[in-house]
Protein backbone atom coordinates (compact mmCIF):
# COMPACT_ATOMS: atom_id res chain seq x y z
CA UNK A 1 0.00 0.00 0.00
CA UNK A 2 1.35 3.40 -0.90
CA UNK A 3 0.69 6.80 0.62
CA UNK A 4 -2.92 7.93 0.00
CA UNK A 5 -3.55 10.68 -2.54
CA UNK A 6 -4.76 13.19 0.02
CA UNK A 7 -1.49 12.93 1.98
CA UNK A 8 0.52 13.28 -1.18
CA UNK A 9 -1.43 16.37 -2.20
CA UNK A 10 -0.98 18.05 1.18
CA UNK A 11 2.71 17.38 1.20
CA UNK A 12 3.16 18.51 -2.38
CA UNK A 13 1.49 21.80 -1.61
CA UNK A 14 3.97 22.39 1.16
CA UNK A 15 7.00 21.43 -0.91
CA UNK A 16 6.08 23.74 -3.80
CA UNK A 17 5.86 26.58 -1.33
CA UNK A 18 9.57 26.19 -0.56
CA UNK A 19 10.50 25.21 -4.11
CA UNK A 20 12.42 28.46 -4.47
CA UNK A 21 15.15 27.30 -2.11
CA UNK A 22 18.57 26.02 -3.10
CA UNK A 23 18.93 22.75 -1.22
CA UNK A 24 22.19 21.30 -2.48
CA UNK A 25 24.58 24.03 -1.41
CA UNK A 26 27.44 22.56 0.58
CA UNK A 27 30.18 24.75 2.09
CA UNK A 28 33.58 23.21 2.88
CA UNK A 29 32.41 22.53 6.46
CA UNK A 30 30.04 19.93 5.04
CA UNK A 31 26.86 21.29 6.61
CA UNK A 32 24.40 22.06 3.80
CA UNK A 33 23.02 25.61 3.77
CA UNK A 34 19.76 26.61 2.15
CA UNK A 35 19.49 29.85 0.24
CA UNK A 36 16.43 31.48 -1.23
CA UNK A 37 16.64 31.95 -4.99
CA UNK A 38 16.20 35.54 -6.13
CA UNK A 39 13.33 35.99 -8.60
CA UNK A 40 13.76 37.61 -11.98
CA UNK A 41 11.70 40.65 -10.98
CA UNK A 42 13.96 41.75 -8.15
CA UNK A 43 17.02 40.98 -10.25
CA UNK A 44 15.65 43.23 -12.97
CA UNK A 45 15.17 45.98 -10.38
CA UNK A 46 18.80 45.61 -9.24
CA UNK A 47 19.90 45.63 -12.86
CA UNK A 48 18.04 48.85 -13.58
CA UNK A 49 19.59 50.50 -10.52
CA UNK A 50 23.04 49.52 -11.73
CA UNK A 51 22.24 50.76 -15.21
CA UNK A 52 21.24 54.14 -13.85
CA UNK A 53 24.47 54.32 -11.87
CA UNK A 54 26.69 53.45 -14.83
CA UNK A 55 24.83 55.74 -17.20
CA UNK A 56 25.50 58.58 -14.76
CA UNK A 57 29.22 58.06 -15.34
CA UNK A 58 28.72 58.05 -19.09
CA UNK A 59 26.55 61.15 -18.89
CA UNK A 60 29.25 63.02 -17.00
CA UNK A 61 31.85 61.94 -19.56
CA UNK A 62 29.69 62.93 -22.52
CA UNK A 63 28.78 66.28 -20.99
CA UNK A 64 32.46 66.90 -20.39
CA UNK A 65 33.29 66.07 -24.02
CA UNK A 66 30.44 68.19 -25.31
CA UNK A 67 31.39 71.12 -23.11
CA UNK A 68 35.02 71.04 -24.17
CA UNK A 69 34.16 70.68 -27.88
CA UNK A 70 36.34 67.60 -28.25
CA UNK A 71 33.67 65.79 -30.21
CA UNK A 72 30.19 66.44 -31.42
CA UNK A 73 27.23 64.97 -33.27
CA UNK A 74 27.39 61.36 -34.28
CA UNK A 75 30.91 60.95 -32.92
CA UNK A 76 29.65 61.89 -29.50
CA UNK A 77 26.84 59.38 -29.78
CA UNK A 78 29.19 56.57 -30.70
CA UNK A 79 31.70 57.53 -28.02
CA UNK A 80 28.84 57.47 -25.51
CA UNK A 81 27.70 53.99 -26.50
CA UNK A 82 31.26 52.66 -26.49
CA UNK A 83 32.29 54.22 -23.21
CA UNK A 84 29.08 52.79 -21.82
CA UNK A 85 30.47 49.35 -22.56
CA UNK A 86 33.95 50.15 -21.27
CA UNK A 87 32.58 51.59 -18.03
CA UNK A 88 29.80 49.08 -17.50
CA UNK A 89 31.70 45.81 -17.91
CA UNK A 90 34.50 46.68 -15.43
CA UNK A 91 31.97 48.20 -13.02
CA UNK A 92 30.05 44.96 -12.63
CA UNK A 93 33.16 42.81 -12.36
CA UNK A 94 34.98 45.04 -9.88
CA UNK A 95 31.92 45.74 -7.76
CA UNK A 96 31.10 42.04 -7.42
CA UNK A 97 34.71 41.31 -6.52
CA UNK A 98 35.09 44.07 -3.95
CA UNK A 99 31.72 43.56 -2.28
CA UNK A 100 31.74 39.77 -2.54
CA UNK A 101 29.01 39.25 -5.08
CA UNK A 102 27.14 42.50 -4.74
CA UNK A 103 26.90 45.50 -7.02
CA UNK A 104 25.36 48.68 -5.68
CA UNK A 105 22.01 47.69 -7.19
CA UNK A 106 22.20 44.23 -5.64
CA UNK A 107 23.15 45.77 -2.32
CA UNK A 108 20.06 47.95 -2.39
CA UNK A 109 17.84 45.03 -3.38
CA UNK A 110 19.56 42.72 -0.83
CA UNK A 111 20.74 40.24 -3.43
CA UNK A 112 24.01 38.40 -3.68
CA UNK A 113 25.91 36.18 -6.07
CA UNK A 114 27.30 32.97 -4.61
CA UNK A 115 29.47 30.30 -6.13
CA UNK A 116 27.43 27.13 -6.62
CA UNK A 117 30.21 24.80 -5.47
CA UNK A 118 30.17 26.25 -1.94
CA UNK A 119 33.62 27.81 -2.25
CA UNK A 120 34.35 31.51 -2.35
CA UNK A 121 33.40 33.48 -5.41
CA UNK A 122 36.27 33.46 -7.88
CA UNK A 123 37.33 36.39 -10.08
CA UNK A 124 36.93 34.13 -13.09
CA UNK A 125 33.27 33.36 -12.33
CA UNK A 126 32.50 37.02 -11.76
CA UNK A 127 34.11 37.97 -15.05
CA UNK A 128 32.32 35.27 -17.01
CA UNK A 129 28.87 35.95 -15.67
CA UNK A 130 29.22 39.66 -16.36
CA UNK A 131 30.70 39.24 -19.82
CA UNK A 132 27.81 36.94 -20.68
CA UNK A 133 25.48 39.62 -19.40
CA UNK A 134 26.67 41.85 -22.24
CA UNK A 135 25.53 39.30 -24.76
CA UNK A 136 22.46 38.16 -22.86
CA UNK A 137 21.00 41.42 -21.63
CA UNK A 138 22.62 44.53 -22.97
CA UNK A 139 23.15 43.68 -26.62
CA UNK A 140 19.54 42.60 -27.23
CA UNK A 141 18.52 45.57 -25.11
CA UNK A 142 20.26 48.10 -27.31
CA UNK A 143 18.98 46.29 -30.40
CA UNK A 144 15.46 46.64 -29.04
CA UNK A 145 15.91 50.37 -28.69
CA UNK A 146 16.94 50.63 -32.32
CA UNK A 147 14.37 48.01 -33.39
CA UNK A 148 12.72 50.42 -35.82
CA UNK A 149 15.82 50.39 -38.02
CA UNK A 150 15.86 46.58 -38.33
CA UNK A 151 14.70 44.56 -41.30
CA UNK A 152 12.01 41.89 -40.79
CA UNK A 153 14.56 39.06 -40.83
CA UNK A 154 16.73 40.70 -38.22
CA UNK A 155 13.67 41.50 -36.19
CA UNK A 156 12.62 37.86 -36.06
CA UNK A 157 16.15 36.79 -35.11
CA UNK A 158 16.16 39.35 -32.33
CA UNK A 159 12.81 38.11 -31.01
CA UNK A 160 13.96 34.48 -31.05
CA UNK A 161 17.17 35.48 -29.30
CA UNK A 162 15.33 37.33 -26.54
CA UNK A 163 12.85 34.47 -26.26
CA UNK A 164 15.61 31.89 -25.78
CA UNK A 165 17.50 34.04 -23.28
CA UNK A 166 14.35 34.58 -21.24
CA UNK A 167 13.38 30.92 -21.44
CA UNK A 168 16.68 29.74 -19.93
CA UNK A 169 16.26 31.30 -16.45
CA UNK A 170 12.51 30.73 -16.45
CA UNK A 171 12.79 27.02 -17.15
CA UNK A 172 15.29 26.15 -14.44
CA UNK A 173 14.33 26.18 -10.80
CA UNK A 174 17.37 28.07 -9.61
CA UNK A 175 16.74 30.92 -12.04
CA UNK A 176 20.21 30.72 -13.51
CA UNK A 177 20.76 32.63 -16.70
CA UNK A 178 23.30 31.35 -19.22
CA UNK A 179 26.12 33.34 -17.61
CA UNK A 180 25.29 31.85 -14.22
CA UNK A 181 25.41 28.36 -15.68
CA UNK A 182 28.80 28.84 -17.29
CA UNK A 183 30.24 30.62 -14.24
CA UNK A 184 28.50 28.13 -11.90
CA UNK A 185 26.88 30.79 -9.72
CA UNK A 186 23.48 31.47 -8.11
CA UNK A 187 21.82 34.77 -7.31
CA UNK A 188 20.23 34.61 -3.85
CA UNK A 189 18.52 36.78 -1.31
CA UNK A 190 20.86 38.04 1.38
CA UNK A 191 19.74 36.00 4.42
CA UNK A 192 18.34 37.91 7.39
CA UNK A 193 18.95 36.49 10.84
CA UNK A 194 16.29 37.27 13.46
CA UNK A 195 16.27 35.29 16.69
CA UNK A 196 12.83 34.90 18.28
CA UNK A 197 12.59 34.05 21.98
CA UNK A 198 12.35 30.37 22.82
CA UNK A 199 8.69 29.49 23.41
CA UNK A 200 9.53 26.59 25.70
CA UNK A 201 10.85 28.96 28.37
CA UNK A 202 7.57 30.83 28.47
CA UNK A 203 5.07 28.66 30.36
CA UNK A 204 5.39 29.18 34.12
CA UNK A 205 5.74 26.18 36.40
CA UNK A 206 2.12 26.33 37.54
CA UNK A 207 0.89 26.35 33.95
CA UNK A 208 2.84 23.19 33.31
CA UNK A 209 1.24 21.59 36.32
CA UNK A 210 -2.17 22.83 35.39
CA UNK A 211 -2.18 21.53 31.83
CA UNK A 212 -0.79 18.03 31.74
CA UNK A 213 -0.86 15.85 28.64
CA UNK A 214 -0.72 12.10 28.32
CA UNK A 215 1.50 10.39 25.72
CA UNK A 216 -1.43 9.18 23.60
CA UNK A 217 -2.68 12.77 23.43
CA UNK A 218 0.63 13.84 21.88
CA UNK A 219 0.55 11.11 19.26
CA UNK A 220 -1.60 13.02 16.80
CA UNK A 221 0.55 15.79 15.43
CA UNK A 222 3.89 16.04 13.65
CA UNK A 223 6.63 18.63 13.18
CA UNK A 224 4.70 20.61 10.60
CA UNK A 225 1.72 21.25 12.89
CA UNK A 226 4.03 22.00 15.80
CA UNK A 227 5.89 24.61 13.81
CA UNK A 228 2.68 26.14 12.53
CA UNK A 229 1.53 26.51 16.13
CA UNK A 230 4.90 28.04 16.94
CA UNK A 231 4.43 30.63 14.22
CA UNK A 232 1.03 31.60 15.62
CA UNK A 233 2.35 31.81 19.17
CA UNK A 234 5.19 34.09 18.08
CA UNK A 235 2.68 36.70 16.92
CA UNK A 236 2.95 39.74 19.12
CA UNK A 237 -0.07 42.01 18.97
CA UNK A 238 1.09 44.57 21.52
CA UNK A 239 2.07 47.14 18.90
CA UNK A 240 -1.10 46.73 16.85
CA UNK A 241 -4.68 47.92 16.95
CA UNK A 242 -7.45 46.51 19.14
CA UNK A 243 -9.03 44.92 16.12
CA UNK A 244 -5.97 42.86 15.25
CA UNK A 245 -5.52 41.78 18.88
CA UNK A 246 -9.15 40.62 18.99
CA UNK A 247 -8.77 38.66 15.77
CA UNK A 248 -5.62 37.03 17.10
CA UNK A 249 -7.45 35.99 20.30
CA UNK A 250 -10.22 34.53 18.18
CA UNK A 251 -7.67 32.52 16.16
CA UNK A 252 -6.05 31.17 19.32
CA UNK A 253 -9.45 30.12 20.64
CA UNK A 254 -10.30 28.30 17.42
CA UNK A 255 -6.94 26.55 17.41
CA UNK A 256 -7.22 25.47 21.03
CA UNK A 257 -10.70 24.07 20.45
CA UNK A 258 -9.50 22.16 17.42
CA UNK A 259 -6.57 20.72 19.35
CA UNK A 260 -8.70 19.80 22.36
CA UNK A 261 -11.23 17.94 20.28
CA UNK A 262 -8.52 16.15 18.31
CA UNK A 263 -6.54 14.95 21.31
CA UNK A 264 -9.60 14.35 23.54
CA UNK A 265 -8.58 16.88 26.14
CA UNK A 266 -11.66 16.96 28.33
CA UNK A 267 -10.72 19.45 31.06
CA UNK A 268 -12.22 22.87 30.71
CA UNK A 269 -9.99 25.75 29.57
CA UNK A 270 -11.03 29.30 30.43
CA UNK A 271 -10.87 31.92 27.68
CA UNK A 272 -8.18 33.85 29.52
CA UNK A 273 -6.06 30.70 29.91
CA UNK A 274 -6.02 29.87 26.22
CA UNK A 275 -2.49 31.28 25.46
CA UNK A 276 -1.14 29.46 28.48
CA UNK A 277 -2.83 26.25 27.42
CA UNK A 278 -1.39 26.50 23.92
CA UNK A 279 2.09 27.26 25.19
CA UNK A 280 1.95 24.33 27.58
CA UNK A 281 0.73 22.11 24.77
CA UNK A 282 3.51 23.37 22.52
CA UNK A 283 6.10 22.55 25.17
CA UNK A 284 4.72 19.07 25.81
CA UNK A 285 4.29 18.31 22.13
CA UNK A 286 7.80 19.51 21.27
CA UNK A 287 9.38 17.54 24.07
CA UNK A 288 7.51 14.44 22.92
CA UNK A 289 8.30 14.83 19.22
CA UNK A 290 11.95 15.64 19.83
CA UNK A 291 12.43 12.58 21.97
CA UNK A 292 10.62 10.47 19.34
CA UNK A 293 12.99 11.92 16.75
CA UNK A 294 16.00 10.99 18.85
CA UNK A 295 14.71 7.43 18.83
CA UNK A 296 14.56 7.46 15.06
CA UNK A 297 10.86 8.22 14.70
CA UNK A 298 10.80 11.61 12.97
CA UNK A 299 7.22 12.68 12.40
CA UNK A 300 6.88 15.01 9.47
CA UNK A 301 3.21 15.89 9.94
CA UNK A 302 -0.13 14.57 11.17
CA UNK A 303 -0.15 11.95 8.43
CA UNK A 304 2.80 10.13 9.99
CA UNK A 305 0.68 7.06 10.73
CA UNK A 306 0.26 6.48 6.99
CA UNK A 307 4.03 6.42 6.65
CA UNK A 308 4.33 3.83 9.39
CA UNK A 309 1.70 1.68 7.76
CA UNK A 310 3.25 1.81 4.31
CA UNK A 311 6.68 1.14 5.82
CA UNK A 312 5.31 -1.90 7.64
CA UNK A 313 3.72 -3.39 4.54
Amino acid sequence: MSTPAIVKRARKQRSTRDGRMIRDFRPPEGVPLNFEVAGLGIRLAAQITDLLITSMFVLVLVLFLAATDLADGSALWIIASLSFFFIRAPYYVLAELIWNGQTLGKRICRLRVVSADGRSLRPYSVTVRNLMKEIEVFYPGTMMISAAALGPGEYIILLIWIGVLLAVPLTNKKRQRLGDMIANTYVIYQPQAILMPDLTTRPAAEAREKFAFLPHQLDHYGAYELQTLEKVLHVDTSGHSQDIARRHRRNLKAISEKIRSKIDYTDKVDDKDIPEFLEAFYLAQRRYLESRKLFGDAREDKFHKHDEKSAAL
Partner: protein, 338 residues
Protein backbone atom coordinates in the same frame (compact mmCIF):
# COMPACT_ATOMS: atom_id res chain seq x y z
CA UNK B 1 18.27 25.19 34.32
CA UNK B 2 15.71 23.03 35.92
CA UNK B 3 15.13 19.38 35.15
CA UNK B 4 11.95 20.32 33.38
CA UNK B 5 13.55 22.14 30.45
CA UNK B 6 13.89 20.08 27.34
CA UNK B 7 17.12 19.17 25.69
CA UNK B 8 16.85 21.52 22.70
CA UNK B 9 16.09 24.44 25.03
CA UNK B 10 19.22 23.76 27.04
CA UNK B 11 21.19 23.39 23.83
CA UNK B 12 20.04 26.79 22.72
CA UNK B 13 20.54 28.55 26.05
CA UNK B 14 24.13 27.34 26.28
CA UNK B 15 25.13 28.69 22.87
CA UNK B 16 22.97 31.74 22.34
CA UNK B 17 25.58 34.25 23.54
CA UNK B 18 28.16 32.94 21.06
CA UNK B 19 25.70 33.19 18.19
CA UNK B 20 24.90 36.75 19.05
CA UNK B 21 28.56 37.64 19.20
CA UNK B 22 29.08 36.01 15.80
CA UNK B 23 26.12 37.98 14.46
CA UNK B 24 27.73 41.22 15.59
CA UNK B 25 31.07 40.40 13.98
CA UNK B 26 29.38 39.33 10.76
CA UNK B 27 27.34 42.52 10.67
CA UNK B 28 30.49 44.57 11.00
CA UNK B 29 32.18 42.56 8.26
CA UNK B 30 29.24 43.11 5.96
CA UNK B 31 29.31 46.83 6.62
CA UNK B 32 33.00 47.55 6.32
CA UNK B 33 34.89 44.41 5.31
CA UNK B 34 37.07 41.85 7.05
CA UNK B 35 39.94 44.33 7.22
CA UNK B 36 38.02 46.48 9.69
CA UNK B 37 37.98 43.69 12.30
CA UNK B 38 40.32 43.77 15.27
CA UNK B 39 42.57 40.82 16.05
CA UNK B 40 40.19 39.22 18.55
CA UNK B 41 37.17 39.60 16.31
CA UNK B 42 38.96 38.21 13.28
CA UNK B 43 40.17 35.19 15.23
CA UNK B 44 36.76 34.61 16.78
CA UNK B 45 34.97 34.97 13.46
CA UNK B 46 36.62 31.79 12.19
CA UNK B 47 36.09 29.87 15.43
CA UNK B 48 32.52 31.02 16.01
CA UNK B 49 31.63 30.35 12.39
CA UNK B 50 32.65 26.72 12.69
CA UNK B 51 30.87 26.41 16.01
CA UNK B 52 27.70 27.87 14.55
CA UNK B 53 27.91 25.46 11.62
CA UNK B 54 28.25 22.66 14.12
CA UNK B 55 25.28 23.99 16.09
CA UNK B 56 23.20 24.14 12.92
CA UNK B 57 24.03 20.57 12.11
CA UNK B 58 23.10 19.41 15.62
CA UNK B 59 20.00 21.58 15.84
CA UNK B 60 18.65 20.07 12.64
CA UNK B 61 18.77 16.70 14.33
CA UNK B 62 17.54 17.45 17.82
CA UNK B 63 15.41 20.57 17.65
CA UNK B 64 12.00 21.24 16.19
CA UNK B 65 12.16 24.94 17.07
CA UNK B 66 11.54 26.47 13.66
CA UNK B 67 12.56 29.97 14.65
CA UNK B 68 15.86 28.68 15.99
CA UNK B 69 16.53 26.66 12.85
CA UNK B 70 15.74 29.62 10.62
CA UNK B 71 17.94 31.88 12.68
CA UNK B 72 20.90 29.52 12.67
CA UNK B 73 20.47 28.89 8.99
CA UNK B 74 20.56 32.60 8.19
CA UNK B 75 23.37 33.28 10.63
CA UNK B 76 25.51 30.50 9.20
CA UNK B 77 24.80 31.61 5.64
CA UNK B 78 25.84 35.16 6.42
CA UNK B 79 28.92 34.01 8.30
CA UNK B 80 29.77 31.69 5.42
CA UNK B 81 29.56 34.62 3.00
CA UNK B 82 31.76 36.71 5.29
CA UNK B 83 34.37 33.99 5.80
CA UNK B 84 34.51 32.72 2.23
CA UNK B 85 34.80 36.09 0.55
CA UNK B 86 37.48 36.65 -2.08
CA UNK B 87 40.50 37.52 0.03
CA UNK B 88 42.85 38.69 -2.66
CA UNK B 89 43.47 42.40 -3.10
CA UNK B 90 42.55 43.95 -6.42
CA UNK B 91 46.17 44.91 -7.06
CA UNK B 92 47.34 41.34 -6.62
CA UNK B 93 44.53 40.15 -8.82
CA UNK B 94 45.43 42.45 -11.68
CA UNK B 95 49.10 41.65 -11.32
CA UNK B 96 48.40 37.94 -11.54
CA UNK B 97 46.09 38.42 -14.52
CA UNK B 98 48.49 40.54 -16.53
CA UNK B 99 51.78 38.95 -15.60
CA UNK B 100 50.76 35.28 -15.66
CA UNK B 101 47.10 34.78 -16.51
CA UNK B 102 46.72 36.31 -19.94
CA UNK B 103 50.14 35.52 -21.45
CA UNK B 104 49.94 31.91 -20.31
CA UNK B 105 46.42 31.52 -21.64
CA UNK B 106 47.60 32.95 -24.96
CA UNK B 107 50.50 30.54 -25.11
CA UNK B 108 48.21 27.64 -24.33
CA UNK B 109 45.92 28.72 -27.19
CA UNK B 110 48.54 28.64 -29.94
CA UNK B 111 46.54 26.46 -32.29
CA UNK B 112 43.21 28.32 -31.97
CA UNK B 113 45.13 31.57 -32.42
CA UNK B 114 46.73 30.23 -35.55
CA UNK B 115 43.30 29.21 -36.83
CA UNK B 116 41.94 32.67 -36.04
CA UNK B 117 44.66 34.46 -37.97
CA UNK B 118 44.30 31.90 -40.74
CA UNK B 119 40.57 32.64 -40.99
CA UNK B 120 41.19 36.32 -41.42
CA UNK B 121 44.13 35.79 -43.75
CA UNK B 122 42.16 33.44 -45.97
CA UNK B 123 39.28 35.90 -46.00
CA UNK B 124 41.57 38.76 -46.97
CA UNK B 125 43.23 36.72 -49.70
CA UNK B 126 39.87 35.68 -51.10
CA UNK B 127 38.60 39.24 -51.05
CA UNK B 128 41.72 40.45 -52.81
CA UNK B 129 41.55 37.81 -55.52
CA UNK B 130 37.85 38.34 -56.06
CA UNK B 131 38.41 42.06 -56.50
CA UNK B 132 41.10 41.44 -59.07
CA UNK B 133 38.76 39.09 -60.88
CA UNK B 134 35.77 41.41 -60.88
CA UNK B 135 35.89 44.65 -58.97
CA UNK B 136 32.11 44.87 -58.42
CA UNK B 137 32.69 42.40 -55.57
CA UNK B 138 33.69 45.48 -53.64
CA UNK B 139 30.08 46.60 -53.41
CA UNK B 140 28.99 43.13 -52.38
CA UNK B 141 31.28 42.87 -49.37
CA UNK B 142 31.78 46.42 -48.20
CA UNK B 143 29.12 47.58 -45.73
CA UNK B 144 28.06 51.12 -46.58
CA UNK B 145 28.83 52.60 -43.17
CA UNK B 146 32.36 51.27 -43.26
CA UNK B 147 33.24 52.53 -46.71
CA UNK B 148 33.12 56.14 -45.59
CA UNK B 149 32.27 57.35 -49.06
CA UNK B 150 35.09 55.42 -50.69
CA UNK B 151 33.77 53.30 -53.50
CA UNK B 152 34.60 52.08 -56.96
CA UNK B 153 33.89 55.54 -58.32
CA UNK B 154 36.43 57.24 -56.05
CA UNK B 155 39.51 58.52 -57.78
CA UNK B 156 43.08 58.16 -56.57
CA UNK B 157 42.99 61.70 -55.20
CA UNK B 158 39.76 61.11 -53.30
CA UNK B 159 41.23 58.09 -51.60
CA UNK B 160 44.50 59.82 -50.83
CA UNK B 161 42.69 62.76 -49.31
CA UNK B 162 41.00 60.44 -46.82
CA UNK B 163 44.27 58.74 -45.95
CA UNK B 164 46.24 61.94 -45.40
CA UNK B 165 43.85 64.40 -43.92
CA UNK B 166 45.60 67.20 -42.11
CA UNK B 167 42.76 69.61 -42.59
CA UNK B 168 41.24 69.91 -39.11
CA UNK B 169 37.71 70.80 -40.23
CA UNK B 170 37.32 67.25 -41.51
CA UNK B 171 38.68 65.88 -38.26
CA UNK B 172 35.32 65.51 -36.60
CA UNK B 173 33.84 63.74 -39.53
CA UNK B 174 36.76 61.41 -39.65
CA UNK B 175 36.56 60.89 -35.93
CA UNK B 176 32.97 59.80 -36.32
CA UNK B 177 33.93 57.43 -39.08
CA UNK B 178 36.78 56.01 -37.02
CA UNK B 179 34.46 55.44 -34.08
CA UNK B 180 32.03 53.74 -36.39
CA UNK B 181 34.68 51.44 -37.72
CA UNK B 182 35.77 50.79 -34.17
CA UNK B 183 32.30 49.91 -32.97
CA UNK B 184 31.91 47.65 -36.01
CA UNK B 185 35.05 45.77 -35.06
CA UNK B 186 34.09 45.57 -31.38
CA UNK B 187 30.79 44.01 -32.38
CA UNK B 188 32.50 41.54 -34.71
CA UNK B 189 34.97 40.59 -31.97
CA UNK B 190 32.22 40.13 -29.40
CA UNK B 191 30.18 37.89 -31.66
CA UNK B 192 33.20 35.97 -32.91
CA UNK B 193 33.91 35.14 -29.27
CA UNK B 194 30.41 34.40 -28.05
CA UNK B 195 29.15 32.46 -31.06
CA UNK B 196 32.18 30.18 -30.98
CA UNK B 197 30.14 27.90 -28.71
CA UNK B 198 28.22 26.78 -31.78
CA UNK B 199 31.05 24.46 -32.89
CA UNK B 200 33.35 27.28 -34.11
CA UNK B 201 31.57 27.86 -37.42
CA UNK B 202 30.04 31.32 -36.77
CA UNK B 203 33.36 32.58 -35.41
CA UNK B 204 35.19 31.34 -38.43
CA UNK B 205 32.62 32.89 -40.76
CA UNK B 206 32.70 36.26 -38.98
CA UNK B 207 36.46 36.43 -38.90
CA UNK B 208 36.75 35.40 -42.54
CA UNK B 209 34.08 37.93 -43.50
CA UNK B 210 36.07 40.64 -41.77
CA UNK B 211 39.04 39.43 -43.78
CA UNK B 212 36.99 39.71 -46.99
CA UNK B 213 36.19 43.34 -46.25
CA UNK B 214 39.83 44.01 -45.58
CA UNK B 215 40.82 42.22 -48.79
CA UNK B 216 38.57 44.16 -51.14
CA UNK B 217 39.36 47.42 -49.35
CA UNK B 218 43.10 46.94 -49.79
CA UNK B 219 42.59 45.73 -53.36
CA UNK B 220 40.72 48.92 -54.24
CA UNK B 221 43.62 51.02 -53.06
CA UNK B 222 46.23 48.81 -54.72
CA UNK B 223 44.21 49.13 -57.90
CA UNK B 224 44.58 52.90 -57.66
CA UNK B 225 48.32 52.54 -57.07
CA UNK B 226 48.37 53.62 -53.43
CA UNK B 227 48.89 50.24 -51.80
CA UNK B 228 51.68 51.38 -49.51
CA UNK B 229 49.70 54.37 -48.27
CA UNK B 230 46.68 52.29 -47.29
CA UNK B 231 49.04 49.80 -45.67
CA UNK B 232 50.32 52.57 -43.43
CA UNK B 233 46.84 53.92 -42.77
CA UNK B 234 45.64 50.48 -41.73
CA UNK B 235 48.81 49.56 -39.86
CA UNK B 236 48.73 52.23 -37.22
CA UNK B 237 45.67 50.77 -35.56
CA UNK B 238 44.93 47.69 -37.63
CA UNK B 239 47.82 45.61 -36.35
CA UNK B 240 46.29 45.89 -32.91
CA UNK B 241 42.65 45.91 -33.91
CA UNK B 242 42.65 43.07 -36.42
CA UNK B 243 44.78 40.97 -34.07
CA UNK B 244 42.20 41.63 -31.38
CA UNK B 245 39.48 40.24 -33.63
CA UNK B 246 41.61 37.17 -34.35
CA UNK B 247 42.24 36.68 -30.64
CA UNK B 248 38.54 36.99 -29.84
CA UNK B 249 37.90 34.44 -32.59
CA UNK B 250 40.52 32.16 -31.04
CA UNK B 251 38.66 32.49 -27.73
CA UNK B 252 35.48 31.45 -29.54
CA UNK B 253 37.36 28.54 -31.09
CA UNK B 254 38.40 27.28 -27.69
CA UNK B 255 34.77 27.21 -26.63
CA UNK B 256 33.77 25.54 -29.88
CA UNK B 257 36.55 22.99 -29.63
CA UNK B 258 35.43 22.13 -26.11
CA UNK B 259 31.99 21.35 -27.49
CA UNK B 260 33.40 19.42 -30.44
CA UNK B 261 36.05 17.43 -28.54
CA UNK B 262 35.13 17.26 -24.87
CA UNK B 263 37.45 14.30 -24.23
CA UNK B 264 36.58 12.41 -21.08
CA UNK B 265 34.51 15.25 -19.61
CA UNK B 266 30.87 16.08 -20.09
CA UNK B 267 30.44 18.87 -22.66
CA UNK B 268 29.22 21.21 -19.93
CA UNK B 269 32.36 20.62 -17.84
CA UNK B 270 34.66 20.81 -20.83
CA UNK B 271 33.10 24.16 -21.70
CA UNK B 272 33.71 25.37 -18.18
CA UNK B 273 37.32 24.27 -18.26
CA UNK B 274 38.05 25.83 -21.64
CA UNK B 275 36.09 28.90 -20.59
CA UNK B 276 38.86 29.86 -18.19
CA UNK B 277 41.36 30.47 -20.96
CA UNK B 278 38.74 31.72 -23.39
CA UNK B 279 37.73 34.51 -21.02
CA UNK B 280 41.35 35.57 -20.67
CA UNK B 281 41.58 35.77 -24.45
CA UNK B 282 38.42 37.87 -24.45
CA UNK B 283 39.90 40.26 -21.89
CA UNK B 284 43.06 40.46 -23.98
CA UNK B 285 40.95 41.25 -27.06
CA UNK B 286 39.02 43.92 -25.16
CA UNK B 287 42.22 45.59 -23.97
CA UNK B 288 43.66 45.53 -27.47
CA UNK B 289 40.44 46.93 -28.93
CA UNK B 290 40.54 49.73 -26.42
CA UNK B 291 44.17 50.48 -27.30
CA UNK B 292 43.28 50.33 -30.97
CA UNK B 293 40.47 52.79 -30.37
CA UNK B 294 42.93 55.24 -28.85
CA UNK B 295 45.40 54.74 -31.69
CA UNK B 296 42.64 55.19 -34.21
CA UNK B 297 41.02 58.16 -32.56
CA UNK B 298 44.18 60.16 -31.97
CA UNK B 299 47.18 58.53 -33.61
CA UNK B 300 45.83 58.24 -37.10
CA UNK B 301 44.67 61.81 -37.26
CA UNK B 302 47.72 63.32 -35.62
CA UNK B 303 50.37 61.26 -37.41
CA UNK B 304 50.22 61.92 -41.14
CA UNK B 305 53.60 60.56 -42.13
CA UNK B 306 53.64 57.10 -43.70
CA UNK B 307 56.86 55.87 -42.08
CA UNK B 308 55.88 57.01 -38.61
CA UNK B 309 52.50 55.34 -39.04
CA UNK B 310 54.16 52.07 -39.97
CA UNK B 311 56.57 52.36 -37.10
CA UNK B 312 53.90 53.05 -34.49
CA UNK B 313 51.54 50.37 -35.77
CA UNK B 314 54.08 47.56 -35.98
CA UNK B 315 55.98 48.78 -32.93
CA UNK B 316 52.85 48.44 -30.83
CA UNK B 317 52.27 45.06 -32.43
CA UNK B 318 55.76 43.97 -31.40
CA UNK B 319 55.04 45.12 -27.85
CA UNK B 320 51.91 42.95 -27.66
CA UNK B 321 53.84 40.02 -29.06
CA UNK B 322 56.71 40.34 -26.61
CA UNK B 323 54.25 40.60 -23.71
CA UNK B 324 52.57 37.39 -24.77
CA UNK B 325 55.80 35.56 -25.48
CA UNK B 326 57.89 36.53 -22.48
CA UNK B 327 55.66 37.46 -19.55
CA UNK B 328 55.19 34.94 -16.73
CA UNK B 329 57.53 32.38 -18.33
CA UNK B 330 58.99 30.92 -15.15
CA UNK B 331 55.56 30.31 -13.72
CA UNK B 332 54.44 28.02 -16.54
CA UNK B 333 55.60 24.85 -14.90
CA UNK B 334 54.18 25.88 -11.55
CA UNK B 335 50.80 26.54 -13.13
CA UNK B 336 50.90 23.20 -14.93
CA UNK B 337 51.49 21.45 -11.62
CA UNK B 338 48.46 23.07 -10.07
Amino acid sequence: MSEATIRSTRFRAEREADWQRLEKIVAQTERSGVRSLGFDDARDLAVLYRQAMNSLSVAREISLDKSLLDYLEALCSRAYLAVYAPQESLGGLFRRLFVYGIPQAMRRSAIPLLLGFLAMGLGALTGYMLFLDDNTWYNTFMPEGLAGGRGLSSSREDLLSVIYQDDTSALDELGAFASHLFSHNTTIAMFAFALGVFVCLPSFALCAYNGLILGVFVALHVDRGIGMDIFGWLSIHGVTELSAICIATAGGFRLGLAVLFPGNLRRRDALRREGRDAVKLAIMAAIMLFAAGLLEGFGRQLVQDLDTRLMIGWGVGALWLSWILFSGRGQDRKAAKE
